[in-house]
């Protein structure tokens, strides 16, 4: 039987196991939306295409499935760009479907035409313009395969309107073969044996864990490895929650706003084992003084990540879960050596413990003002262990990474690579759609929140009980902090001079708004918010010029931290 392109699209999505898509209709996707009415696929209508893509991203990060978003051509497609770039930088599996003007009009500057394939080429893992309905099913198959395999990433399918209307015989391929794309999954055994030897011999080893651990769901094997060898673990922002932050081996986050002890441990280490991390500049600081005494083992599924920024002594290309399993298996065969290695690490643990004691993560508490860190601690204390936390970008994001404890994987969703303000609210929306019964909290700042605040409407419409904590300092706090420290307190355009009544804003959308202006009100507001059904904004009037510390100034080495302002 022949089906129209739009029916083929929806049938293919069902074949891929897609249950929910996020999107926004328009002229060149109107046929798809017409067919959606009778489809088993649930569609969530956001209020902006950027939010649809972030929601699909949040859905993907929380579940591990491929997120799917849909938008119309032209402005619809250009609005998806930030969302796609966010997912690309953090390697999130996603398929974005955009409408396109009919093939006969492409290149004619038609109404709502944009060269979507050209625009998204540098921010996608791959993209397709479908020019014949006969190719559609195979392209969708390829898109999902590419999005979820290897180093995951977003794939765009640009679908002209006439291709949606044309008919073809529908048969969904069960296999796909791409001669130019064959990711290496299986880590080389010889290299793994070498790595295990190096780990057993190291005197000051550190495990440096990135987003790859989350993407491959490697948390259990990672825990096993760290505990077997008693190696301290530091994570990047993207690796957060793949290792329990309350674990005795956890050093917390490293890098620009990492803990003192994580950065000192990395700087002093003799063996750095990088697992699914890419030595981002926010992690390494000045490259020439990064882990100067360490041999580096780098495990990554993407060969381009290896030796891109730092020298590597032992590269292992492969799927992190596969490599960790093999490492753990090897270690199980060498129980005596493992016991010896554990013993030999005692002085190292003492050294790390001393750093931890000297400069623990802390802040100056206050009885007069609400300290933002205090809000994060209270949120942690009063929320469930399996709560999913999203953030926007800025000071609140760093405080969340520093002061919230994560015990379960895929519970911290944040834009790491691109650093997209306005990510957290729609990502929370996507996560809540995936897990209607779990607590989902967007920790936000007053600046970031206003970048996608229109999504309150989506939350209310779909009864998604996301709890939004706005740390309101009336500043674009992170930029203000830089201006204070490096630009002589010249606060150029960082003061949000118009105070917003966030309670009224919440109420305008039919949500609930609560406010805490004094420290003693914080707990009450959080408790009330968690007890209130539906979406709630908690506004915390926090101390305005609080800084995120410690801080490695841009261009400095990890051991040159500023500890307090």
């Amino acid at each position: 039987m022949k089906l129209t392109g739009s029916k083929i699209l929806l049938e293919s999505l069902i074949q891929e196991g897609v249950e929910t898509i996020f999107g926004y209709p328009g002229g060149t996707v109107i046929n798809i939306y017409d067919d959606l009415m009778g489809s088993s696929i649930k569609h969530v209508l956001t209020r902006h295409e950027q939010a649809a893509v972030h929601a699909a991203d949040g859905y993907a990060r929380a579940t591990g499935k491929v997120g799917v978003a849909i938008a119309t051509s032209g402005p619809g497609a250009t609005n998806t760009i930030t969302g796609i770039a966010t997912a690309y930088m953090d390697s999130i599996p996603m398929v974005v479907i955009t409408g396109q003007v009919p093939t006969g009009l492409i290149g004619n500057d038609a109404f709502q035409e944009a060269d979507t394939v050209g625009l998204t080429r540098p921010i996608t893992k791959h993209n397709y313009l479908v020019r014949d309905v006969k190719d559609l099913a195979l392209i969708i198959k390829k898109a999902f395969y590419i999005a979820r395999t290897g180093r995951p990433g977003p794939v765009v399918i640009d679908l002209p309107k006439d291709v949606q209307i044309d008919k073809a015989k529908f048969e969904y391929p069960d296999k796909v073969e791409l001669r130019g794309y064959k990711p290496t999954y299986s880590g080389n055994m010889r290299m793994i044996v070498k790595a295990v030897k190096m780990m057993l011999a190291a005197k000051k080893p550190v495990l440096y864990v990135g987003g790859g651990a989350t993407l491959t769901d490697s948390h259990a094997e990672l825990l096993k490895l760290a505990e077997a060898l008693q190696i301290p673990v530091t994570t990047t922002l993207m690796g957060m929650a793949s290792f329990p932050t309350r674990h005795s081996l956890s050093l917390g986050m490293l890098g620009m706003h990492g803990t003192y002890y994580a950065n000192m441990a990395v700087t002093s280490s003799d063996l750095l084992i990088a697992l699914g991390a890419r030595f981002d500049d926010r992690v390494t600081g000045k490259i020439s003084t990064f882990a100067p005494h360490a041999k580096i083992i780098h495990v990554d599924v993407d060969p381009t990540s290896i030796k891109k920024n730092v020298r590597v002594d032992l590269p292992i290309v492969g799927d992190l879960l596969d490599v960790l399993k093999k490492m753990n298996k090897k270690l199980a065969e060498h129980k005596d050596e493992v016991a010896q290695a554990n013993l030999a690490l005692k002085p190292w643990h003492e050294e790390v413990a001393a750093w931890r004691k000297d400069h623990p993560m802390s802040y100056k508490p206050s009885k007069k003002e609400i300290k933002p860190q205090f809000v994060i601690e209270k949120l942690r204390e009063l929320s469930n262990d399996d709560a999913i936390v999203t953030t926007e970008v800025g000071q609140h994001q760093m405080w969340t990474a520093q002061f919230f404890d994560f015990t379960q994987p895929r519970t911290f969703l944040s834009s790491g690579g691109l650093g997209t303000m306005g990510y957290g609210l729609p990502a929370a929306l996507g996560a809540q759609v995936a897990f209607p019964d779990r607590q989902v909290i967007d920790i936000s700042g007053d600046g970031s929140f206003q970048m996608n605040s229109q999504e309150l409407a989506t939350l209310v419409q779909y009864r998604l009980p996301v709890k939004i904590a706005i740390l309101n300092n009336n500043f674009l706090g992170m930029v203000r902090q830089w201006q204070q420290l490096f630009f002589d307190k010249r606060y150029s355009q960082t003061c949000m001079e118009l105070p917003i009544d966030f309670i009224k804003l919440a109420e305008a959308y039919g949500a609930t708004g609560l406010r805490a202006s004094k420290p003693e009100e914080v707990e009450e507001v959080i408790k009330k918010a968690f007890d209130t059904p539906g979406p709630v904004i908690m506004e915390f009037k926090v101390s305005r010029e609080e800084n995120v510390m410690p801080m490695v100034p841009a261009g400095a080495g990890l051991n040159e931290m500023v500890l307090a302002s």
């Binding site: 050209g118 080429r121 540098p122 590419i146 791409l178 001669r179 891109k308």
Partner: protein, 164 residues
């Protein structure tokens, strides 16, 4: 340092943009690029001359490999290969210079492929150095226009890319 690499890619819509965009987006140099389909019409072969140190070249080849449309990369650095470039040179041919042009052509085993009363178009093939040399010799006669193909290369010996 100058490096020559061949890239075998899916002969698909937009593939040239992907390759060129990768170079510009990551700040890699392209000195020349030539592209045409291979014996298998679904595959195109690009010859790219780029420059950079070993670390950059490693990133270039890895990043090219990462593209879904890239089937194979052949890096000719340190390899034994045949390199040829072609040029078409439109040169002013006055009565006084015609004989000299033909002589130069002869030395470089070039051919005159178009003749008008005032102008010759010379075709010459060889290594990029040789092509540059004939251009230098013809320049004094007055070159009106010229086009160089950019080099194409093949490894020496009986081995084809599929077996290598």
């Amino acid at each position: 340092m100058r490096h020559t690499i061949s890239v075998l890619v899916e002969n698909e819509f937009g593939v040239l943009t992907r390759i060129a965009g990768l170079f510009s987006g990551r700040g890699f140099n392209i000195e020349s690029l030539s592209v045409a389909p291979t014996l298998d019409p679904t595959i195109s072969r690009m010859t790219i001359v780029t420059s950079g140190d070993d670390r950059i070249l490693e990133q270039v080849t890895k990043q090219l490999n990462k593209l879904i449309d890239t089937i194979k990369i052949i890096d000719f650095t340190g390899e034994d290969y045949v390199e040829r470039e072609m040029a078409l040179i439109k040169v002013t041919a006055e009565e006084s210079t015609r004989a000299e042009i033909l002589r130069i052509c002869d030395i470089f085993r070039g051919k005159v492929v178009d003749v008008t009363p005032k102008c010759y178009t010379v075709e010459v093939t060889g290594s990029p150095v040789k092509v540059s040399a004939i251009i230098d010799l013809l320049r004094p006669m007055g070159i009106k226009e010229l086009v160089r193909s950019g080099p194409v290369v093949l490894g020496r010996g009986p081995k084809g890319w599929k077996s290598g």
